[in-house]
């Protein structure tokens, strides 16, 4: 039981819980206490330290901003107004709060608020569905399109959209980059003839890719009713992120251990067998390293691309909140920041787990 748990934890990349599991099961308590201290308590302490620095930092920024505000009022409108402003800030009234880095507590409040908002929108949707159910049946019977909910998406909806976009983009990158990488990796001639193209296109900024995709997709989808902004953003994400996979695959395929190639030669394996039985398995670790970089790049550029492409998702959420400038906008942006970071981390773990599952080289990565 214990061993199974430890094995599972290790497999999904949470191996640092191992000493705790061992400690709870009563095994070698002294050694495992120290290990637990090292691997779990120390990181928790670092999180607390981080929160502490954040808290005091935001406090001091808040004070600076507040003093500046009071000083400004004092200079422009006189002492009476300045005192009023002071009282207003101290009372915590939303109308006069200094606009600066929010404290951890405020961010937590915003997080709860966003979830509440999500629940409320969910209820609205449900109510809308019930209300329009009979009407929609009639419309469908008449051959008309049913009425759909077009209200504002909640924060969670936007996360879902973003993840959908990233996966579509990642899949596109996978489908384009791996086959090309394999072909290029197999042939020296092709590698040298296309290397310049790859080297030039690789560092191109996501924004430029977006514009390029926009130019093409806009024309291609003129008459279609499909979701253009989604198409544009996922294609751009795919194009930005596929280079790591392309380069890694080509490198992995071209640098397969000479011993394996010699074995394949001595056995006179056919081309097909040589590629699928020898070259591909041998280069899987590098291909996967490329795919992991691709996924993290995809997630990183997604936010910027959504922001520009007006495509719904976390990127546009951040941008709208920034434009919005409401009292809790800043803390919502920070919530989005953590959500983005956490999902990015999760995606990487998922890739690592898949890699461990398929690749022969169990120790690669982490």
């Amino acid at each position: 039981m214990k061993d199974a748990i430890i094995k599972g934890l290790r497999f999904i990349g949470l191996g640092f819980f191992e000493p705790l599991v061992r400690l709870i099961s009563g095994e070698d308590s002294k050694k495992n206490s120290i290990e637990t201290l090292k691997k779990i308590v120390a990181p928790i302490a670092s999180i607390l330290l981080f929160l502490g620095v954040w808290y005091s930092g935001s406090k001091s920024l808040y004070n600076t901003e507040a003093n500046y505000k009071i000083a400004k009022v004092l200079k422009e409108q006189g002492a009476e107004e300045a005192n009023k402003m002071k009282d207003c800030i101290a009372s915590g009234d939303v109308s006069c709060q200094p606009n600066t880095l929010p404290s951890p507590l405020q961010v937590w409040e915003s997080y709860k608020l966003l979830l509440k908002d999500h629940r409320k929108i969910g209820e609205d949707k449900e109510a809308f569905k019930v209300k329009t159910a009979s009407l929609n049946e009639k419309r469908i019977a008449q051959g008309k399109n049913p009425i759909v909910y077009t209200g504002r998406p909640s924060f969670v909806d936007q996360i879902k959209t973003s993840i959908k976009t990233v996966f579509a983009g990642f899949l596109l990158a996978l489908l384009i980059a791996t086959p090309i990488g394999i072909i290029i990796g197999l042939s020296d001639t092709l590698r040298t003839s296309f290397n310049w193209l790859i080297q030039i296109l690789k560092p191109v900024s996501p924004v430029v890719w977006l514009l390029l995709v926009f130019m093409i997709v806009k024309t291609l989808t003129k008459d279609s009713t499909s979701d253009t902004s989604f198409i544009i953003s996922f294609i751009s994400v795919g194009l930005c992120s596929m280079w790591a996979t392309l380069v890694n695959t080509a490198m992995g395929v071209s640098s397969v251990d000479k011993d394996y190639i010699n074995v394949a030669k001595v056995l006179k394996l056919g081309t097909f067998q040589k590629i699928f039985k020898v070259i591909l398995p041998a280069s899987l670790p590098l291909i996967f390293t490329g795919l992991r970089i691709t996924l993290s790049v995809a997630w990183m550029v997604l936010i910027a691309i959504e922001l520009l492409a007006q495509s719904p998702g976390l990127g546009s959420f951040v941008w709208e909140e920034f434009q919005n400038g409401a009292n809790d906008s800043n803390s919502k942006i920070i919530v989005a920041m953590f959500v983005i970071g956490f999902i990015g981390f999760l995606l990487d773990r998922i890739m690592l787990t898949i890699q461990k599952f398929i690749s022969f080289d169990k120790n690669e990565g982490i």
Binding site: Y260, N262, K265, V266, L269, P281, A282
Partner: protein
């Protein structure tokens, strides 16, 4: 006496492997580097020869030329009278590193070659061949272990099984036990010679180990140091087969053979 061994010619129908005026040139920025020149060697059917010589003298170059993995610059290599064209399963190779595919099991590694060589056999026949050779090298319980989970010695056992299972005409061994500790090396020599006694596949083996050469081979071929390396001397080992390590070590001629080889290497 040494010259007679060197110039000895065998009847054409006795010869399995024939190297004639073999030459190997590597172009370098400072001009051509002649690794091998005028190398002549005949290996009889069912003969086991070992090749010794100093590091860098071109032994491995010669072996990989026989395997077809390295191009021939001049002269020719023939197996049963027919010149070789590139690598092929008629010349099995046991590499210095076990070179197993680490993502495959021991069984799959052997099967990879067997499938290629016996495409018309039934599934069961092929499986039986794999199992037979794997158990011959003492891997009965490890058929389905991944190669990466096996120790170096175990991996080289699989390498031996893989080479024998494709039933080559010539077996080429490139210092197969060089990376192993001496205890494991002894074990694997026994495994190799036991399976070889049954199959009698013509074998050419490179080694650095004088005792290994005497124990395993019918003739020890000594190569001169490069550049322009060629055969320097050939020493026939006239112990009876099957041999056991004990009787070989106790034999009166053993130390004479050993002295002969070491004298050559020290000059």
């Amino acid at each position: 006496m040494e010259t007679t061994a060197l110039e000895q010619k065998f009847a054409p129908n006795e010869v399995m492997l024939d190297l004639k005026d073999l030459k190997k040139v590597y172009p370098t920025p400072k001009g051509d580097y002649m690794v091998l020149e005028g190398l002549n060697l005949q290996v009889k059917k069912e003969e086991f020869i070992t090749i010794i010589g100093h590091s860098g003298c071109g032994k491995t170059t010669m072996l990989s030329m026989i395997a077809g993995l390295n191009e021939i610059s001049g002269g020719k290599i023939a197996v049963l009278g027919a010149s070789i064209k590139g690598p092929g399963p008629d010349r099995g190779v046991i590499f210095q590193a076990p070179s197993l595919m680490p993502w495959m099991t021991a069984y799959e590694n052997v099967m990879l070659g067997v499938k290629k060589v016996f495409p018309h056999g039934t599934k069961k026949e092929r499986a039986d061949i794999c199992k037979y050779y794997l158990s011959k090298v003492g891997l009965d319980g490890s058929f389905h272990k991944r190669a990466s989970e096996l120790s170096q010695g175990m991996q080289q056992r699989v390498g031996i099984a893989r080479a024998f299972a494709i039933k080559p005409k010539v077996l080429l061994l490139d210092e197969p036990f060089g990376m192993l500790d001496s205890l494991t090396r002894g074990e694997l020599q026994d495994v190799l010679i036991e399976i070889w006694n049954k199959e009698k596949i013509t074998a050419v083996m490179i080694t650095h180990d004088v005792d290994e050469a005497i124990f395993l081979s019918d003739r020890v071929v000594m190569m001169t140091s490069g550049p322009k390396a060629k055969i320097g001397d050939i020493l026939p080992i006239e112990f009876e087969r099957p041999r056991s390590r004990k009787t070989v070590l106790a034999h009166d001629d053993y130390y004479e053979y050993r002295k002969h080889l070491i004298d050559f290497l020290e000059h």
